[in-house]
């Protein structure tokens, strides 16, 4: 390294590096490191104008230094203060309150200003997202609630902003649909129902929500449980597990809202959803039996209806047939009657064994065993035919 190098580096490097460089050279106490400093200090920028302070743009300080090398201006003092505050120990090793010290201190001044500006920017300008609202407190006291958009506040500790999501609908599950975890509720008829439900809520007034309740979530949960139990206690078991659910849900919602409004909690109950309302496992069997009995009743009724249909249709069919024939019969009673008689007898007698017995003087011998034998013979034949 050489002095020339030192100069070029000084020209290009950012202040931080330059400062480190300086302190290194001070510690090393090398002639090329210390020389320029002492010279600068003494001559007030005569020998090496280039590397002296090329990284600091503002001229007024430079000129001030040029004019009054010994009597430092207020600005210089400030810079010196900055330097001193940063590394009092490091500075002592070098050459006291040299020009380079104030130069790097000046850089620190700007850095501090920049940091302060950034901090101020971040702490005073707030982008409130569309789903949120910001509650601003001024010295602890509630000041205002601001809606979405870019909002300005004083920096802390004067004003603080706390954002709360007022659009989100939060869900809180009470009880569990898993069979292991039971949440028994007593009904009006002193039966027990296993309930699992969800409460959906959102923040209506963020300032109330923040300032009123110590434990908002716990409060909502407890209010939900209490309301649910109080409501279910007005319903019979059969209603609670079946048709009464919707009614229970709306009553619980109403009850919760009333209570929370009474607390001024700033919470809006969006809805209650009963996910499960079952009788306990121990009596489940009996409930299933009721269902089975209901189905049995239905099936008995169905069978009866089938019978009814069969009987009625049969009656209608038979009477319709009779009516038709009777119509014809009335037109010519004698012929129809005889025709029917002969047709029937023909059909009947043609399939039967016939024996004609002269009644007078003949003692009929009926070979009954023979008849039975023949009948028996005919039976398997008939069966085989089928």
């Amino acid at each position: 390294m050489s002095n020339d190098n030192d100069g070029t580096i000084g020209r290009r490097t950012p202040g931080g590096l330059r400062r480190i460089f300086d302190s290194i050279s001070q510690m090393a106490n090398s002639p090329w490191g210390n020389g320029p400093k002492d010279g600068d200090d003494g001559k007030g920028g005569g020998k090496k104008p280039g590397p002296r302070n090329p990284w600091v743009t503002p001229d007024p300080a430079d000129t001030a230094r040029g004019r009054k090398p010994r009597g430092p201006s207020a600005l210089d003092e400030l810079l010196r203060k900055g330097r001193g505050s940063f590394g009092g120990g490091g500075g002592s090793g070098g050459g006291g309150d040299g020009f380079d010290l104030s130069a790097s201190a000046r850089w620190w001044k700007w850095a501090i200003i920049a940091i302060v500006a950034i901090v101020l920017l971040f702490s005073t300008v707030h982008v409130v997202p569309p789903e949120k609202e910001g509650v601003v407190t001024r010295l602890g006291s509630y000041s205002r609630t601001v809606g979405p958009g870019v909002k300005f506040t004083l920096p802390p500790p004067f004003e603080r902003i706390r954002l709360e999501d007022v659009r989100a609908i939060r869900t809180m599950a009470i009880g569990s649909p898993n069979a292991t975890d039971e949440n028994f509720v007593l009904t009006r008829d002193q039966s027990i129902v296993d309930l699992a439900y969800e409460v959906r809520w959102s923040i209506r007034d963020p300032e109330l929500f923040i300032f009123q309740l110590a434990e908002p979530e716990d409060t909502i949960r407890e209010v939900a449980e209490s309301s649910m139990r109080a409501t279910v206690a007005n319903f019979d078991l059969v209603q609670a597990i079946g048709p009464g659910r919707v009614e229970i849900e709306s009553q619980v919602q109403q009850r919760m809202q009333d209570l929370l409004d009474q607390y001024r909690a700033g919470v809006l109950i969006q809805g209650i959803a009963i996910r499960q309302a079952d009788p306990p496992k121990q009596v489940d069997e009996a409930f299933k039996e009721v269902t089975a009995a209901r189905q049995e009743r239905e099936s008995a009724i169905n069978l009866a209806r089938a019978y009814e249909q069969q009987v009625l249709e049969g009656a209608r069919g038979q009477t319709a047939a009779f009516d038709k024939i009777y119509e014809q019969y009335k037109l010519s009673p004698g012929v129809t009657r005889r025709r029917l008689y002969y047709e029937t007898m023909e059909a009947v007698l043609s399939k039967a064994d016939k024996t004609i017995v002269e009644p007078r003087g003949v003692t009929p011998y009926l070979p009954l065993p023979e008849v039975q034998r023949r009948a028996a013979a005919a039976d398997p034949a008939a069966k085989g035919g089928q």
Binding site: A74, E77, K81, G84, G88, L139, G140, Y142, L186, Q190, S191, I192, E207, I210, F211, Q212, A214, E215, D218, T219, E222, V223, R229, A233, P279, Q282, V283, A286, V290, A293, R297, E298, A300, L303, A304, E308, Q309, V311, L312, A315, Q318, F322, P333, R337, L340, Y342, T344, A347, V348, L349, K351, A352, D353, T355, P359, P364, L366, R374, A378, D379
Partner: protein
């Protein structure tokens, strides 16, 4: 003097820091959700941001408060609604029903001075109130029957408990806002089993009733059908009973001798006098 300070940055810094410390010791921020007591040597000097009913936020006493460093001490007390959670209690109702009761109460500290002198911290107050809540719950529920705990009258019970609890709470500078039974369950064991048994028998009774009702309805339907069929038959056949007799006899013969259900061969012994054989004589 200022000049001297400027010449010596470290001193300026120290001075600034000292000032900050001093400010932080003299000025305190009382937030909206806290009440503050200013204690001078342990004596309560002033209260700040004390709870007032129905006040609006922003118009309360929250804000900056000054105090004398080293002499004054500031004590914050919660201003929000706090909860008491009672341990689950077993309560015996007048009809000797055992009940497991969970209750909660909401309260807030309305008189921070009294609260501070009586019990110092919110935590201890919460514990104290939980104990009181438990005993007043037992007292009140012990006077009731089991059924009232489930009925709308429960509201009155809770009001009584709230009054009793409030009387105690006021001694601690607190106000009870609400007392609720969270859960009132039958305890495990005999009571619960008895309840299950009752539920089961009730269901069984219902099942039996439903079955019987099904039988009844089926019978009625069948009876109605039979009656209706009889009416249809009568309306039709009644037009000529004599012909019906003949017609039905013919049907019956066919059914008997030819029908699918008739089994075995039929042997018929006829007399020549038979109506069918009338023409057989040839006369």
């Amino acid at each position: 003097m200022f000049e001297t300070l400027l010449r010596r940055p470290m001193r300026l810094l120290i001075a600034v820091l000292a000032l900050l410390v001093l400010v932080s010791m003299t000025v305190s921020v009382v937030p909206e959700d806290k009440q503050a007591l200013i204690l001078r040597f342990g004596e309560i000097e002033a209260t700040v941001n004390k709870y007032k009913k129905g006040e609006d936020f922003g118009r309360s006493g929250a804000g900056l408060v000054l105090r004398i460093p080293f002499f004054d001490n500031i004590q914050f007390i919660d201003k929000r609604i706090l909860g008491i959670n009672m341990e689950r209690q077993q309560v015996l109702s007048t009809d000797q029903q055992r009940l497991q009761v969970d209750a909660f109460a909401r309260f807030r500290i309305t008189d921070p001075v009294r609260m501070y002198t009586a019990i110092r911290t919110e935590d201890r107050l919460q514990q104290q109130l939980a104990t009181i809540l438990g005993s007043s719950l037992r007292n009140e529920l012990g006077k009731r029957t089991f059924a009232t705990l489930l009925s709308p009258e429960r509201g009155a019970v809770m009001d009584n408990i709230q009054v009793a609890l409030n009387r105690e709470a006021r001694k601690y500078g607190a106000e009870i806002i609400d007392v609720r039974i969270k859960r009132a369950d039958l305890p495990e064991g005999a009571t619960l089993d008895a309840a299950y048994n009752r539920m089961r028998t009730a269901r069984e009774q219902e099942a039996t009733a439903i079955r019987a009702e099904g039988q009844k309805e089926a019978q009625i339907i069948r009876g109605n059908a039979d009656g209706e069929a009889a009416r249809i038959y009568a309306a039709s056949y009644g037009k000529d009973p004599e012909f019906y007799d003949f017609y039905r006899a013919m049907q019956s013969y066919r059914q008997t001798f030819l029908g699918e259900n008739s089994s075995g061969a039929t042997s018929i012994i006829l007399s020549p006098d038979n109506e069918y054989l009338k023409q057989f004589h040839g006369d």
